[in-house]
């Protein structure tokens, strides 16, 4: 059993036992509350906080307090002082200023065995918010909740309402152009044109982004022709932070392909007819690709990448499943 689970069970049993004893004997359990240790915070503010905490706990649960004017820094001291005062549990802690922050630590120890029943910490940036801290810590102690779970309207501190600081990436539009070589499918033409428009979000070690593109045969007068529209989301791992950074990755998405082939149609065997026609087939389907590439001029805001993709469109066209191609592109990232 983990330490955390043991702690929660112990706290629950402890608090339940005290509630049972309180109701059974119609007598409120006695807790001691000691003076808080103070560093870089005025003694008056600390005393006020202790008063607020005592009041809030009393409002949350039936308990009577005895006060001790000793400052303890550890549970053994707190348990001893609580025993002297005839208390079943002892509340002690510290209030310390750390730069612009005020950090409040509160612990509750079982006087009988000296074990820590609850240990909570909160930080605020303004001393005026110590009343919120007292209310939140009291609720956490009284109801056996994590202090983070005691937040409600009117009890949220300025620190908690701040937007969490996140690591920044760099995002922008990327445009690419290149060549596509069909491997299977794609009207069996030898060479195609590939054009992509993408959003490229780049962090130090990875990049992600959606792209939409178009692929078509290079010869505009060719009898056989195709059109592919890939719409994918890709993710890539970037090796290195320099101006020449290789990367690998892949992606998946939706593909549309229309594939038209000039074909000779024969009917009959004794009496035969022959004619030429365009056989067209088209479909939507899942598309996947793997990509390797080199990111150039990475330390600049406008970068260039060279990429090679192997694409598979998982659909059946002209009775053949899985249309495959190789795409080589040069991309500019703005």
């Amino acid at each position: 059993m983990s330490t955390h689970v043991q702690g929660v069970l112990g706290t629950t049993l402890f608090l339940t036992a005290m509630m049972v004893s309180g109701s059974a004997f119609a007598q409120e359990p006695t807790w001691a509350i000691l003076d808080f240790g103070v560093r870089n915070v005025s003694a008056d503010d600390a005393a006020t906080f202790r008063d607020l905490l005592q009041t809030e706990i009393s409002q949350q649960r039936e308990v009577q307090f005895v006060r001790g004017d000793v400052v303890c820094a550890d549970k053994r001291c707190a348990a001893a002082e609580g025993a002297k005062l005839g208390a079943e549990a002892t509340v002690y802690g510290s209030i310390a200023g750390l730069g612009e922050k005020i950090i409040v630590n509160v612990e509750v120890v079982d006087t009988a065995d000296g074990s820590v029943v609850r240990s909570e910490r909160m930080g605020v940036t303004r001393v005026e918010e110590l009343d919120l801290v007292a209310a939140r810590l009291a609720k956490a102690i009284a109801t056996n909740q994590d202090v983070d779970d005691t937040a409600e309207l009117g009890l949220v501190t300025t620190d908690e309402s701040k937007i969490q600081t996140r690591r920044q990436g760099f995002g922008g539009v990327a445009l690419g152009v290149g060549a596509m070589t069909p491997v299977t499918g794609y009207a069996t033409v030898p060479l195609g044109v590939a054009i992509d428009a993408a959003y490229w979000y780049e962090a130090s070690k990875f990049a992600i982004g959606p792209r939409v593109g178009v692929r078509f045969q290079a010869d505009p007068d060719g009898e056989d022709h195709y059109l592919e529209i890939p719409m994918d989301l890709g993710a890539y791992f970037i090796f290195g932070l320099g101006d020449f950074a290789p990367f690998v990755g892949g992606g998946a998405g939706l593909r549309f392909i229309t594939d038209t082939r000039r074909s000779t149609i024969l009917t009959g065997s004794v009496i035969q007819t022959t004619h030429e026609t365009n056989l067209q087939d088209e479909s939507w389907g899942l598309g996947t690709y793997v990509r390797g590439g080199m990111l150039l001029f990475r330390t600049y805001t406008v970068r260039v990448s060279l990429t090679v993709d192997y694409n598979v469109a998982w659909m059946e066209l002209h009775d053949k499943f899985a249309q495959q191609s190789l795409t080589m592109m040069i991309n500019t990232h703005f």
Binding site: S263, I265, T267, G268, S269, V270, I271, Q272, T273, T274, H275, T277, L279
Partner: protein, 163 residues
Amino acid sequence: MKRSTKIIAAVVAVMGAISVLGCSIDTGLDGFDDLWDPDPCTGDSPDLNGVWEISGSGKRFDCREEFLNTDRFTLSSVEIPIVYDDATGEIALGQASYGESFEIRSSLVDRACVEFTTVEVVGDQVIEYRWDGNARSDRYIEGEFSGSGPAGCQIQGVFTMSR
């Protein structure tokens, strides 16, 4: 010239012009020419015995499979041995290696007019042609054909047969 003569001449000229223009504009009236066509089946029945080849062209439409529809296809055949019975005026398929996949049905030879039907089974499809030709000699027939199949197609075209 008397005035009445001039009027009659003018009326005749106008009516003549109307007749000419009317015939040129209403091409549908040209169909009446057929009423005066000579009987196409004149002449003696040719000797049709022998090995014939058919060629031609046509169009195919109303097919269930779109790729079979076409405004123009070319038609050819392998060598088809024909046996002609001039007593009954019927033709039949001679010795050939088609098996039961190809046969000649409901034929009729009336002097130079040659009509017959061929049926070919290819896979699960049946292709039927109705040939309606005119023998220009005992070695050459030309005419029109119609038919059906495969995939529900309707067929029309022109053909020649030679040997």
